[in-house]
Symmetry: C2
Subunit: 446 residues, 2 copies
Amino acid sequence: MPRQLHLNAFLMNTGHHEASWRLPESDPYAHVELDHYVRLAQVAERGTFDSLFLADGPQLWGTLAQRPAGALEPLTLLTALATATEHIGLIATASTSYNSPYNLARKFASLDIISGGRAGWNIVTTAGAEAARNFGLDAEPAHAERYARAAEFLDVALKLWDSWEDDAIVGDKAAGVWGDDAKIHPPRHKGAYFSVEGALNVPRSPQGYPLLVQAGSSEDGRAFAARYAEAVFTAQQTLPDAQAFYADLKSRTAAAGRDPGHIKVLPGIVPVIGSTEAEARANEQALEDHIVYTHGVDRLERLLQLPEGSLELDGELPTDLPPEDAIEGAKSRYTLVVELARRERLTVRQLIGRLGGGRGHLTFAGTPEQVADAIEEWFTQGAADGFNIMPAVLPSGLETFVEQVVPILRARGLLRTEYGSRQTLRERYGLPRPANQYSTQEPALV
Amino acid sequence: MPRQLHLNAFLMNTGHHEASWRLPESDPYAHVELDHYVRLAQVAERGTFDSLFLADGPQLWGTLAQRPAGALEPLTLLTALATATEHIGLIATASTSYNSPYNLARKFASLDIISGGRAGWNIVTTAGAEAARNFGLDAEPAHAERYARAAEFLDVALKLWDSWEDDAIVGDKAAGVWGDDAKIHPPRHKGAYFSVEGALNVPRSPQGYPLLVQAGSSEDGRAFAARYAEAVFTAQQTLPDAQAFYADLKSRTAAAGRDPGHIKVLPGIVPVIGSTEAEARANEQALEDHIVYTHGVDRLERLLQLPEGSLELDGELPTDLPPEDAIEGAKSRYTLVVELARRERLTVRQLIGRLGGGRGHLTFAGTPEQVADAIEEWFTQGAADGFNIMPAVLPSGLETFVEQVVPILRARGLLRTEYGSRQTLRERYGLPRPANQYSTQEPALV
C-alpha cells in the first residue's frame, strides 16, 4: 500500500483561534460540554482521522476575561468519547512532573482496555511556575530536571505495563486457578525520582501500552522523542524548517537504535478555508478583527518571560532577548516565536495576529485545493508523515475540512477512504505491538 | 413523599462471592471488560437504583491463582459508563493517601460535568504496605496520619471545587469578555500535607462537587464521616449492631453541626435469592463448594496481621489477637471479623465460608419476599437509609434482584417506580446542592 497521511484532530475549545469564541456561531460554554466533543469526535471519524488529541496543563492559565478558560481533564473526556466512537484513536496529554507512575499507567491501561486499544499518551513535562505551585512546589523544576524525571517516569511506566504477561490469566475453573503468578513481574523500581514496588493492578492492554506521543522540540525534547516517541506533534512555520526537523528526528531515532519509520512526525496546521482564496483571507481577517490585542500582549510577555508592560503594540520585539538556553519554560515555542518575528520583521501587533490562530503553528488560508496542495507538498517533500489538524473555529472548521479537503486527499490516494475492520491506534499508525520486556515467549509476528 | 430506600449497586468482578468466577455461567475475563459493566449498569438503571459503586485500592492484591485480580480504574470505568446510562449515580473510590488534590478534584469535577451531575467520591485512606510501596513509601502511614491527611485533602478539594463561583462565566462576545476574574478564588492553601496555590481549571460542576461518600467505620472513620460524608457504606452483621451504628453516626453528624438527615447510612447486603428458602440455601452452598480454603486462610491471616501458617482450618481464631487499637490497616473490618467468629464460635473454615460471600457484609439467603422483608425491617427499624446491594454472582445476582425483589419493594412503596425527570445524584439522595464557600450571592433555594 502506498504511504498514506496520518491525520490527528487537535480539539480545543471553540477552535484554535483565540477569538473563535466571539464569533456569532460559537457557544462560549462549549469547551466544558460533552456534546461539543461528541460532535467533533464523530465528525473526525467521518473524516477517517487516525486520532483525536487534547492538550493540557494542570493550572488555570491566564485570566478568564481573555478567552475560554479551564478544560475537562483529557483522560476523563476521552474515556467518555471512547464509548461515543468506534475507530478513532484517543490521545490524552498528561504530565510526568505532576503525576505518579502507578496511577497514570493504570489510567492509560484502563482507557486502552475500555476503548479496545485506542489510547495514546502525549507525554509532557509541563512548563510554568503556576502548575508547580498547584503541586506543593514553589517554582517549576529546571528544564533538564523535568526531562530526567520524564525519562525515569517512562521507564517505570513501561515496567508497569509489562508487569502482566499477555497470557497471565488462565481462568481454569475446574482447578480453581484464575491466573499464573509466574507471569507477574513487579517492577521493584528504586530510582532518583520514583520507588515503585508492585505490579500494576490491570492486565496488559490491547496495545500493550498506549501509543507514546511527544511534542517538545527543544534539544531535550528531541532526545526524549528519539528514545521513546512513536508520534511527534511539532510547530513548524516553513517547509525548510519542517524538513530539517523531520530529518533530524528520524536520524536521532535511528541513532537511538530504533526504526525511523516507527516515529511519525505530525506538524500542526491551522487551515482557514474559503471557496476562493479571497474568501479564505476574509475568514482569517474576521477572526483577527475579534482579537483583543491587550490580552495578546499579556500572553506574549509571559511566553517571552518579560516584565509586564515591556512590549509596545506597534514596535518590534526587543533585540536583547535571552537565548533559548536561558529559558526554563517552553523552550522550542520561545525560539519559534522569536524567529518568526525577526524573519518577517513583524510588529508586536502583527505577531499577535499571526499567533492568534495557532500559537506558533502554521496558519494556512486558502481553498480546499490549496490546503490539500500544502498538505501534499509537506507530506511528499520529507517534512511530515501526517498532520495535526487544528481548526481555527470548532466545530465548523473541522466540518469544512472533512467535507471539502478530505475528499480531495482521498481522491489523490493520500488518505484512507474507510476504516475497514477494527484496529488499534498503533495499527493505524503502522506500528508494531510492543513485545513484553519480561516475556519469555517469542514476540508475535506483526 | 414517604421516606424511600436508596439503593446502590456495588459492582465487583463476577460477583462478591470469591468463588463466583468458577461458576459455569461466569466469564473469568469479565471484570476487565467494558461490556460486563455496561450490562450491569443498565440492569441497575432498570431497577431505578440511585447509584453504582466501584471499590478500589492502588495495588495488585493477593495472588492471581486465587481469584480475578486487577480492576479497571474506577473513575475511568465510571466515565465510560456515564455515556452508557442516563440517570444513575456513579460513585468512584479514590485514595487521599496516593493522589494529589489538584488532579483528583479536577477529575471528579470533569466526571460531574460529563455525567450531568451524577458523580460521587468514595473517600478512602487506603490501608496496607503494598499500596504504600507503589508510591515511594516503605510502609503504610499510621491510621491517624492517613485520616489527618484525608481531612486536609478534603479541605483543599472543597476549596478547589469552590474556586469558580457558579456564575464566573460571562460570555460577553460583544465586549470580548469571556469570564469574571473577580469570581475566581485561588485556594492559596499551605498546610501540613499540601500546598496548592491556584484555582481549579474546570468550572464549578452541576452538583458543585461530587457526592461525598465514606466507608470506614473505625473511630477515625466515623469522625471523618460525621464531618464530611453525605453517604456511608458500612458492613453490619446484626440488626442491633446496625441500629447502634446508625444512631451513633446520626448523632455525631448532628454534633458536628450538620443535619443528620444529610448523611445516608447504607449497610452492605449480599442477597442470595432462590424461589424457595431451600433453593436459596442450595445456591449459597454451591458457591461455598467452590471456595479454595487454603486461599481463604492466606487472606484471613493477612487481614488479622498474623504470620503465615498460624491459623488451623478446623480450629477457632487464637484467643490472644491484638485489640483494634493496635491495627494500622483496616481497623473496623478487623473488629467485625473477630467479633463474628467469637460470637458464633466459628472455626476458621466456617468463618471463611461466611466471609467468602461478602467479606464481612451481611449475607442473606432467602426468597425474594424474605430479602424484601429483611430490607424493610432494617430500613424501618432505624438501621439503614438504604442498602449497598452486593450480589454474590454478577450479572445474574443483580438481574434476579431487579426482576424479583425490586417489584416487591416498589409495591410496598419503599422504592421509586421510575426516575422521572433528570436529577443529580445529590438530588436523588435528597440532599441540597452545596453553597459555594466563597460566593457573595444568596445560596439557591433547594
